[in-house]
Amino acid sequence: MKNATLRHRVLALAATAAMAALSMSAAHAHRAWLLPSGTIYSGQQPWVSVDAAISNDIFYYEHNAAALDNLVVTGPDGQPVQAENAAKGRYRSMFDVKLEQQGTYRLALVSDGLIASYKVGNETKRARGSAESLAKEIPADATELRVSQNSNRVETFVTRGAPTTAALKPTGRGIELVPVTHPNDLVEGETATFRFLDNGQPAANYAATVILAGLRYRSELGEMRLTTDANGEIRVKWPAAGMYWLNVAPARAPAQGAPMAGGPGAAPAAPSGPAGTLAEPVRRSNYSLTLEVLPK
């Protein structure tokens, strides 16, 4: 009974976009996330403190700390902001951002590079970098070369005072959120509309997954699976207040979030599927977003 109620509540995430029956993606589907200490701030000198990790569970750090080399913080004026107190633990990285301006900040781990796998003799090797660096690194006698270009974006938004949108201006690289509903203006029971672009174009028919935090305290994942419409839009009615993890990827790619390039000691994921070349890599994009939904 209790389970049924919970399932009903979690699955009741209403969506006007078509529900997609995606097959479960690979078992090693790690999820990358940024977890801010809060998303809405008032006062004179607020700071946000953020955990960054790659894990199976959502918002529990139990696998790897996320690399912060590619951390990009954008202030409400659209200018870069320096993160402070960055540190890396075994299972999580952390950093702070001083919210000196009024408005919305964008916090993102952005990676966009080539990943190659190839054979030298019987040995399979993996490498990542730019087209130039890989051209130098991969020997001329390499065989079975497969190259993919991976655009990963893991982000969250934090607002001091009233929400603004300058920091949300699309960069045109990878999957990005266009705020039809502002990501820092979400309330239980209301319906949010989000639009996604991939390299600046509407991410139409992409797979979106929405999961409420707190998996440890319930027996079912209760994820909502959606497909973006022709405009790249999904609509989500929030069934409960809490932190949510949202993932968007092209429908055929793993929807659970590809491992972040740059985890500690993590070998780059071997490209699978169609083989790309250095000149024409297979493009993969993935987007993970942490959202906070507040009580009514």
């Binding site: 701030y41 008032s42 006062g43 004179q44 000198q45 009233a162 929400p163 203006d185 507040l294 009580p295």
Partner: protein
């Protein structure tokens, strides 16, 4: 005498008697037997029955903290923060006030408040209380403006606010 009579006539000919009417709010801040007690932050505003925001009446917070540090917790009055607070630069004259101790408080609002700009219709006074290391609660009390006679409406909170009554009179 004739002059006074003329003045009264002129005032009566205005459609909105906003100048005279007022709203008196009685609110009980409950005494709570908790280990760590902080006086609640309270926002009081007027909205329409469809919950659209009309105007602020008062915001009680820790205005004495140095560097305006009390504003850090204004966001915890979540409903108010979203409807109005996040657009304001506190303190605001005529709105900001100190937190109140447990007990019964009566506050009066007249033409100098948001009531002065109120079109005739149905409204509700909303009180939202948020307490540091405590809870949060909203209480809504309906009223009709402008009042035809003295009218009192009541509501009550469950934990952060006690009895609330709103009396409007012409």
């Amino acid at each position: 005498m004739p002059i006074r009579y003329a003045a009264a006539l002129t005032a009566a000919s205005f459609a909105w008697p906003a100048v005279a009417a007022d709203l008196s709010l009685k609110v009980e801040i409950p005494r709570l037997g908790v280990a760590e007690y902080h006086r609640p932050y309270v926002a009081i505003w007027i909205e329409k029955p469809d919950q659209s925001f009309v105007g602020n009446l008062a915001v009680w917070y820790d205005i004495k903290l140095r560097n305006n540090e009390g504003t850090k917790w204004l966001k915890d009055m979540r409903a108010w923060w979203r409807k109005s607070g996040r657009e304001l630069n506190m303190p605001v004259d005529g709105l900001s006030g100190a937190t109140r101790a447990p007990g019964e408080h009566t506050v009066q609002f007249g033409a100098g408040s948001a009531l002065g700009r109120l079109a005739p219709g149905e409204y509700q006074v909303v009180l939202e209380a948020a307490r540091e290391v405590g809870g949060r609660e909203l209480v809504k009390v309906p009223f009709v403006w402008p009042p035809k006679g003295s009218t009192t409406t009541q509501a009550s909170g469950q934990h952060e606010l006690g009895a609330v009554s709103v009396t409007v009179k012409p």
